[in-house]
């Protein structure tokens, strides 16, 4: 049932495209995967022992000692009287070391221990147009992926215009929808279309697919671009129509649907992304958000694109993370709303600028249905297109939250507190505080993921 039109405040779509710039570079980005720094303390190369002899030891005595210790072969160091001894097959390293150490001519003997580089793990994905994702560089995404890529057991519900997640022909309208090309192995939970009242929340616009792709577009698969929490699942929930408008009732329905969805006794949706807003207020939506928060689900919403000094609804609610937009200079995007309710900023872009001088406007680039084809009613053609807006900033924070849930966080209040404490303060905000322009600052998942030690907190 719909509420009367007069009473229904209209939810305006945020982040209408100010530029659509398909990327056509042929450049290949080299993939570099750095091994995770697993501890190797106590580990050694099997079958090898290092032994050093006292200065006056005769070669004949050395040969005898090595043979008695089970040595099959020995390589002498070029600069000292030490040997790398290869033991007979099956010989025990500790026993050989013990035997050698007991010999009077041996100065010392030890296993040939293993070392590793101490570089922090990162992932530089090989997605073809990844080089245009300045937004992920701003988020320190490569280090983030070195720590956590997301788990399929954690899902983000994207309440939007739908998501191009399946090949489907609507029997009522005859419209054909295609799955976007760069979903790879991204998991989708069964969603719902609250606009048309069916279980196929496909995207008859492009906004929702773009937002969902920022969260979980397939990454390091050689095509397209990357998503920040690409290991997490997406639940597509359609609450906006093809013009990017929806109602409070449908938004509340969508939140409740996502929060209550259960699979095998567990509730996988941990984050709800609302790249939408209104200048009105709805008790219905507020109640749904509060239920979500108390049920362990974090709601993230866009602050608004009017450049005003007030955060829109529902982002301005206490149990919602309100997200403003940064441009490529890491400054507030001119359209991004500010105010006392602003919590964070994240890359939202400004397609009118090219501050990173890559030849393209500083949009956020993701896969989405090609707007030129959407305009003529086709939903089977796609592009890697750029959009800007607080709509684009919001999924960065939703993805960061999803990564924290994947790491082991269970409490939305803890996720919020962790993101607050580790955000990069901007615009002169105090170290333990916020300001109205940037909130607590730029979300830094790589700083939040490590959590706390006994006496060591997050790194600055």
């Amino acid at each position: 049932m719909r509420i009367p039109a007069a009473a229904a405040a209209v939810l305006a779509l945020l982040g209408a495209p100010s530029a659509l710039s398909p990327a056509h570079s042929q450049d290949v980005v080299r993939a570099v995967r750095v091994a995770r720094g697993a501890a190797t303390a106590g580990a050694w190369r099997e079958g090898q022992v290092i032994v050093a002899f006292r200065a006056a030891t005769e070669p004949r005595e050395i040969e005898r000692a090595l043979r008695e210790a089970g040595g099959r072969d020995a390589r002498r160091s070029r600069s000292a009287s030490r040997f790398l001894v290869t033991l007979d097959p099956g010989a025990s390293v500790p026993e050989a070391v013990e035997r050698l150490a007991r010999m009077p001519e041996v100065a010392y003997a030890e296993p040939n221990g293993l070392v590793r580089r101490t570089q922090a793990a990162t992932l530089k994905p090989d997605d073809r147009y990844y080089r245009y994702q300045w937004n992920f560089d701003q988020m320190n995404a490569e280090r983030t992926w070195g720590i956590q890529k997301g788990k399929t057991s954690v899902a983000v519900a994207v309440l939007d215009s739908g998501v191009a997640y399946e090949d489907y022909t609507d029997p009522r309208t005859g419209q054909s929808f295609r799955k976007a090309p760069d979903w790879g192995s991204t998991s989708f939970l069964p969603g719902y279309d609250f606009v048309n009242g069916d279980a196929h929340p496909n995207d008859d616009e492009y906004h929702g697919t773009h937002v969902a792709s920022t969260i979980a577009e397939a990454t390091n698969n050689g095509i397209g671009v990357a998503g920040l929490a690409f290991g997490c699942a997406i639940m597509p929930v359609k609450v906006l129509d093809q013009d990017g408008e929806g109602t409070f009732f449908d938004v509340a329905e969508g939140i409740d649907y996502a929060v209550e969805y259960s699979e095998g006794g567990t509730k996988p949706v941990k984050v709800v992304n609302l790249s939408l807003g209104s200048e009105g207020f709805s008790q219905t939506v507020k109640n749904a958000i509060d239920r979500a928060f108390s049920g362990g689900v974090l709601v993230v919403a866009a602050a608004g694109n009017s450049g005003k000094g007030v955060v829109e609804f529902p982002a301005n609610q206490p149990n919602v993370l309100a997200v403003g937009a940064l441009d490529a200079r890491k400054e507030r995007a001119s359209y991004s709303n500010t105010g006392a309710d602003l919590d964070f900023v994240a890359p939202g872009g400004n397609c009118d600028r090219d501050d990173n001088v890559d030849g393209l406007g500083d949009c956020v680039f993701q896969q989405m249905p090609d707007p030129d084809f959407v305009e003529i009613g086709r939903h089977d053609q796609f592009c890697y297109c750029g959009l800007d807006g607080t709509s684009m900033a919001t999924p960065h924070v939703a993805a960061a939250a999803a990564l924290l849930f994947s790491q082991g966080f269970t409490d939305p209040a803890a996720v919020r507190a962790s993101l607050e404490q580790t955000a990069q303060r901007l615009g002169g905000a105090p170290a333990e505080g916020r300001n109205d322009t940037y909130g607590f600052g730029l979300v830094r998942p790589a700083a939040a993921l490590p959590g706390l030690g006994l006496n060591v907190g997050p790194k600055p």
């Binding site: 070195g146 082991g408 269970t410 490590p450 006496n455």
Partner: protein
């Protein structure tokens, strides 16, 4: 108990009772093992699941005048757990899976008094100071989150020593305080824990000369 163990125990008891009583100029070496309970119990419980554990070490004691003695030694205590996040004292502990270990090594010196010096059962009390070495190590995907510092503190202890010979046994309980060593960051800052000390109960095997 095996026959050998019984024989060893009997021999030790005989030595303890038969040997001359402790007097001025006596030197004793102690091996110590027992249980240490961290004062930063909230922080430790969140990280390690418990705030106590085994401790061991040793000390040298010199009784220089009647029952007065000086002692110096060291003990060590370590715990292993995982990194966490908490919003506050009442907030749920979010376990994050990154391994974390700590090691405390207090080096201490005390002065004390043995109340019935020379008797079979000798109660004693001591106070002193300590330098505690604290090491915290954690690796998050190749990035180290380590802390290594030493901090001064003080301690008080009371115990009892049983036996009068070369080999004796003892038990001691004590409290050590190492203020301002924690609370600089991490969960100890959230919980307001700043003391690296705690309480301990140890058993002693003593060899006196």
């Amino acid at each position: 108990m095996t026959t050998h163990a019984r024989a060893l125990l009997a021999a030790s008891a005989l030595l303890a009772l038969a040997a001359p009583p402790a007097g001025a100029g006596e030197i004793a070496i102690e091996a110590q093992a027992g249980y240490f309970q961290m004062a930063a119990s909230n922080s430790a419980s969140a990280l390690f699941g418990s705030s106590g554990g085994g401790t061991f070490g040793g000390a040298v004691r010199y009784t220089f005048w009647r029952g007065a003695f000086v002692s110096a030694g060291a003990r060590t205590f370590s715990k292993e757990g995982e990194r966490v996040f908490v919003t506050g004292v009442s907030g749920p502990v979010q376990k994050l899976g990154f391994p974390l270990s700590i090691r405390l090594t207090p080096i201490f010196a005390t002065v004390g008094y043995r109340f019935r010096n020379g008797k079979t059962i000798v109660p004693y009390a001591a106070v002193g100071g300590s330098i505690t070495s604290y090491k915290e190590e954690s690796d998050v995907a190749g990035e180290a989150f380590d802390d290594d510092r030493s901090k001064a503190g003080f301690l008080g202890a009371a115990g009892v020593e049983v036996g009068r010979g070369t080999f004796r046994f003892g038990a001691e309980a004590g409290y050590s305080a190492v203020p301002d060593a924690l609370g600089l960051g991490g969960i100890s800052k959230v919980y307001g824990d700043d003391d690296l000390g705690g309480t301990y109960v140890i058993g002693k095997l003593i060899v006196a000369f």
